[in-house]
């Protein structure tokens, strides 16, 4: 019997690198099939010296495939293990390989989408954006570096894991670890989303509810301070002004309370929360997100025009 052909670590690394381009030829017919075969090419070349075997392998991996691009890695790992067995004469049917690919892509996409697109990216994006909006270059750099470390680390590790575990991985997915990771990520995500709604969604109702005239002596007498300033002692003037402010005097003779101040006294961020619930409801009713976005802009303009916002 011929010596066993195995895929070396460098072969597997080459496949992992190529899986970066998994979605490159994403198409409406078979979706990620071109990318999958593109990733498998180094392994196919190594495992099958005969041309007819190569043709069969290429055609096998040009079948329909679609999942989250990062969790494709463990699937590729398992597929590599199966192809290796097959190349060494084991009776691995086309159906088995196809079955493993199709069987894993659905559940794994169910993990990858919420974890990467709806937890890690929004969180990292929000933290980075909070730096960036202050003009700090750290925001974009942090986003790019941290994301790609997580991404490539995940892809390489899970592909290796898939390769080692072979077919056993399908059993592991039903229980334990991945379920926990998904749930933990959802808890993290929901908590931070709640916080982001409070912090980042801004609605400010400007109508004035009340204008109260502050009693004499409870507000800073700027005119008197100004006269002190023009007489030459600016330092003393500033000192007086700050100590007056510090002792709790009002800045202006009148006190204005807007509708927003009242709402903030109730629950800060209540209206943003309600707006978010409204958006969720509309999205569930299959209203397109673009339509909602455009309507919100219109609400902003109209609301501003009638001095509500």
């Amino acid at each position: 019997m011929a010596e066993k052909i195995t895929l070396s670590k460098s072969d597997r690394s080459a496949v992992c690198f190529r899986s970066t381009f998994l979605q490159g030829s994403w198409n409406y017919e078979r979706m990620q099939n071109g990318g999958f075969v593109f990733a498998m090419i180094p392994a196919i070349k190594k495992l099958y010296p005969k041309k007819e075997d190569q043709v069969a392998a290429l055609e096998r991996h040009l079948e329909f495939f679609n999942t989250h691009p990062y969790v494709a890695s463990p699937i590729i790992g398992v597929t590599l293990a199966l192809e290796e067995e097959r190349a060494n004469g084991a009776n691995v049917e086309d159906e088995a390989i196809q079955g493993v690919k199709v069987g894993m892509m659905g559940p794994l996409a169910g993990v990858g989408d919420p974890v990467f697109w709806f937890t890690v990216r929004p969180l990292l994006g929000a933290i980075a954006a909070s730096f960036a909006m202050g003009g700090s270059i750290l925001g974009p750099i942090m986003f790019f570096v941290v994301w790609n470390l997580i991404r490539y680390g995940f892809m390489f590790y899970t592909q290796e894991f898939g390769y080692q575990a072979g077919t056993a991985i399908t059993k592991d997915l039903s229980g334990g670890l991945l379920g926990k990771i998904t749930k933990g990520a959802s808890i993290l995500g929901m908590f931070v989303l709640g916080a982001l709604i409070e912090r980042w969604v801004s609605i400010n109702f400007t109508p004035v509810v009340s204008t109260i005239t502050n009693p004499d002596g409870s507000y800073i007498d700027w005119e008197a301070l100004g006269q002190a300033g023009t007489s030459g002692n600016f330092g003393q003037m500033l000192h007086d002004a700050f100590s007056a402010y510090g002792s709790g005097l009002y800045m202006e003779p009148t006190r204005v309370t807007t509708l927003q101040d009242n709402l903030n006294g109730l629950v800060p961020g209540l209206v943003p929360l309600l707006l978010t619930f409204l958006c969720m409801h509309l999205l569930k009713k299959k209203v397109s997100p673009i339509a909602i976005i455009i309507s919100l802009f219109i609400v902003g303009i109209v609301g501003h025009a009638i001095h509500l916002l």
């Binding site: 970066t20 709806f118 974009p140 790019f144 709640g194 958006c279 455009i294 303009i301 501003h304």
Partner: protein, 268 residues
């Protein structure tokens, strides 16, 4: 401002990378925070680019390609709005306007993406033909061509946008009355909610809902930074998972009913 030769080349390269990533979704060159920063960097308007990128990033939060669905196109939105911001020459005060134009651009980009994804069908048919001859090189070439097509999807509009005269862009921006631009800025503050809503719809179930409200309430304490909130969230996730595990094993050893008194009664 006008772009010199080197800047045009660099902007086209950035746009090409963003276009590629719009489909690949790996390195994230298409995310506003990266794309706008890079456009700002190569055109010498780094600060504005970063601020625009950060602001757009919050809006684009929930835009993700799920299954066969196509999200609003962050790549075209970020690249084109950054170019418009730089050309407009209004500095950071041009950011709300640039964001307002980013939205229709994201829709336009969505249609371009769908066109490209359809054009990719004949490309994979080419791969089928190449596979019959075990022609590895041709399959690789077709894959690279498909990625290049996605890159050009953004690079070509970006290039065209740079050569529209400054006057046209300026006039278009100045034609907007302040009522509209201020209103747009107000709208922009609310639009963020749509992204959050998409994310929550994906993630929410009975088990995790309470955490949203805890986060919402704790966030009102403005002394706690986002990183601090993240730490609280991670801690709570660990506590929850551990408690759940304990409850699970306890119930298991107690005969599965999870009700010790009931078990004792059953034993009688």
């Amino acid at each position: 401002m006008t772009f010199n030769f080197l800047q045009v080349i660099l902007v086209v390269i950035v746009a090409f990378l963003a276009g590629m990533e719009g489909i690949l979704d790996e390195f994230q060159f298409h995310q506003p925070i990266v794309a706008c920063t890079l456009i700002g960097l190569v055109t010498g308007h780094l600060a504005e680019g970063i601020i625009l990128g950060g602001t757009l990033q919050l809006m684009a939060m929930g835009w993700a390609n799920i299954g066969a669905a196509v999200a609003p196109d962050a790549a075209l939105a970020s690249v084109a709005s950054a170019i418009i911001l730089v050309k407009g020459g209004q500095g950071t005060s041009g950011v709300p306007t640039a964001i307002a134009v980013a939205i229709p651009l994201a829709v336009a980009g969505l249609f371009l993406t769908m066109v490209c994804r359809t054009l990719a069908v004949p490309i994979v048919h080419g791969m089928d033909a190449a596979a019959k001859n075990a022609d590895f090189g041709k399959i690789e070439l077709l894959q690279i061509a498909a990625i290049g097509m996605q890159g050009l999807r953004i690079a070509i509009p970006a290039c065209a946008l740079m050569f529209v005269s400054d006057q046209v862009v300026m006039d278009a921006l100045n034609a907007l009355p302040p009522l509209i631009t201020d209103g747009m800025a107000i709208g922009g503050g609310m639009v963020v909610a749509v992204g959050y809503a998409m994310v929550i719809n994906m993630m929410a179930n009975k088990e995790v809902w309470p955490f949203l409200f805890i986060g919402f309430t704790v966030a009102a304490i403005s002394d706690i930074t986002l990183i601090g909130l993240g730490i609280i969230a991670v801690a709570m996730a660990f506590i929850y998972l551990n408690l759940e595990e304990k409850a699970g094993t306890g119930g298991g050893s107690g005969g599965g009913s999870g009700d010790p008194l009931g078990d004792i009664l059953n034993d009688y």
